[in-house]
Subunit: 374 residues, 2 copies
């Protein structure tokens, strides 16, 4: 068994579940900090443990380019390489091929692109991408997909979806064959595409359901579309996914987005927001986001978040962290990242608790009474 | 009592001692990681504790410019501000005024200079510098001095020394008056100057010994002079200092320099080497310094230092840390800094043990059989 629902909300479609992987179980709903290059930026793994991070997302595109899956495999796999004991999901790199690299050529066989680091030509096929993730020792593999940008015209979105579906089938078959003899094999998730076209989304989901994927991701959202458009799609497709499989929405998001998604049945999230924003001095708190470089914090003796009990909030003032940002000290990035990752992980924990106790809406209401969405 | 010798070496002038300060005692000989702007670069204080750092050196010049001693004082002092429970020595800023700032004008009253950050004109007097350090809540204050660069002609060095001596007297008097009513006052150290001229050094030391300073620093060395010149001066002045006071050589240095200084009776050290080098990928190991970015480490499964038992060496390979440097990940700077600071702190611990057991030379010999000085 790879997925077990522990509790269904009496209030809405939210559920508490356990996802079983080769590196232990993950409580869902949960949030994955981003570790594209084999590290959650600025945070040593002992801090991820201290924070309570159960699962992170790393990246096939980045690790293939540097240092390469063969090196990581030789070093005993990504968990050992980066010294992370928890669960690692690896994104297929589809999104990065289409957002970071240059001179792409998409063919049915796969996608050719130039490395954004050294311009080297690289050819990714669905099979190759599964193979890379197996070499990395990923716990949860994602299939190679094409992620159209927003907006996409329907003809392009449809053509792209057809390719993504063919790739999903090939990924599934290659994966199943590759893990035949594995005692404790990793999981593989398919990805729903179809841009903002509901009929394409439905067609796509029907197709990927033909294979026994271990979970389903919603891709191609959080790429610039209006919130209402995203929410409309989620509302209309969520029931197409089987209840007994985990659902992951890629690249989402802000706390308000996460609440919405969980309420409507999504289990897993990843986003660069807590870490990327932290490095610019924008940190998440129970009152909303604050720009710690702002001069109003110059002599503020409060912690980043007065309601937070993380290492950073128990030991440092806003005044100190603002000073570190002003003085361009690396420790500023570390302290802000630590806190914001903790904020997300702790939020997921509190949301899980609220679902368990059937008081999701009460918790949500209380949360947004304080948390200002800007 | 502020200083107690625990054990004198039977082999040489080395000694084991305890230095008592308002924030507890420090075992000497010891090494101070540099925290100029109120943080040992990249390392949170919980790691300094884990490493075993007993004392750090911060900086009057840097903290006066940013964020200012009044702010730090309002925040409860530097210990609380940066959340460091150990002992803090603050350098007077003399060295920084003469190395970092522009358009200096040195008068008997003090030194006027322009901030290297915003060009603002600032005037430091010996009294002002003591006052700043008291506001910071420093455990060990340093007097304002002028630090001539190397080489300095004798006429300049003599004139500069005379000023430094006048400033030392004024610093002492101002300090003693300021702490009159303090129950647990901080300590104040004087600084020996005189460039590379032995007669000036001797004259200067005689003068500062007229006041009851709590310790004596050797300044104006490690500024570019040949090692032989530095060693010659140390050998010729060390016995001029009273035995019952701690001796601190500023800005030293490499392990080989530290061994030499301890052997000849010096107790306290500070240097940017472990942290600054670490950030460029140059780390200290029991075999000598290694450039971790070097391609020979690309698939090296060893830790940075196979003989080290720090967090970094117990959990990460050279291959991983090299990857992080290549990928320009902040964690690279953290891991390299953590290890190199540990290397220094652990070296001091082992040197103290060797002195206690009267096997300093045996330990030194064994150390340099492995450690390659380049």
């Amino acid at each position: 068994m790879k997925f077990k629902i522990i509790k269904k909300s009496k209030e809405n479609k939210a559920r508490i579940s356990l996802l079983y992987t080769p590196h232990g179980e993950v409580e869902l709903p949960n949030f994955m900090p981003v570790a594209s290059q084999g590290t959650v930026k600025t945070l040593p793994p002992k801090d991820l443990k201290e924070i309570g991070v159960q699962i992170i997302v790393s990246n096939t595109y980045h690790l293939h380019l540097r240092p390469g899956e063969d090196l990581i495999n030789k070093m005993g796999g990504l968990h050992k390489f980066m010294n992370f004991e928890g669960v690692i999901l690896t994104d297929s790199g589809g999104f990065q091929v289409f957002s970071l690299s240059e001179l792409r050529e998409v063919k049915e066989e796969g996608v050719e692109f130039k490395s954004h680091i050294d311009g080297k030509k690289i050819f990714f096929t669905p099979e190759k991408v599964v193979e890379i993730q197996l070499k990395l020792g990923s716990d949860i593999l994602m299939v190679l997909d094409e992620c159209p940008s927003y907006p996409s015209d329907k003809a392009y979105a449809e053509k792209s979806l057809d390719l993504t579906l063919k790739w999903a089938e090939r990924s599934y078959k290659y994966f199943k064959n590759a893990i035949l003899k594995e005692e404790n094999p990793p999981l593989i998730f398919a990805i729903s595409q179809g841009s903002t076209y509901l009929d394409l989304r439905k067609k796509g989901i029907e197709e990927i359901l033909k294979y026994e994927f271990d979970g389903y991701a919603i891709g191609g959202l959080a790429v610039g579309e209006p919130t209402e458009v995203r929410e409309e799609i989620i509302l209309n497709i969520i029931d197409l996914f089987p209840e007994d499989k985990p659902r992951y929405i890629m690249g989402v998001g802000y706390p308000e987005d996460i609440f919405f998604c969980i309420e409507h049945g999504i289990d897993l999230f990843d986003c660069v927001l807590p870490t990327r924003n932290a490095r610019t001095g924008l940190v998440f708190t129970s009152q909303g986001k604050i720009r710690i470089k702002n001069s109003i914090f110059a002599d503020d003796e409060n912690p980043l978040d007065p309601e937070c009990d993380c290492y950073v909030c128990k030991n440092f003032t806003r005044a100190y962290i603002r000073h570190l940002f002003n003085a361009e000290e690396y420790l500023a990035l570390y302290l802000a990242s630590y806190h914001s990752v903790y904020f997300y992980i702790n939020l997921m924990k509190k949301i899980r608790k609220s679902i368990k106790e059937d008081r999701f809406y009460e918790f949500k209401k209380r949360f947004f009474e304080k948390y200002k969405v800007d």
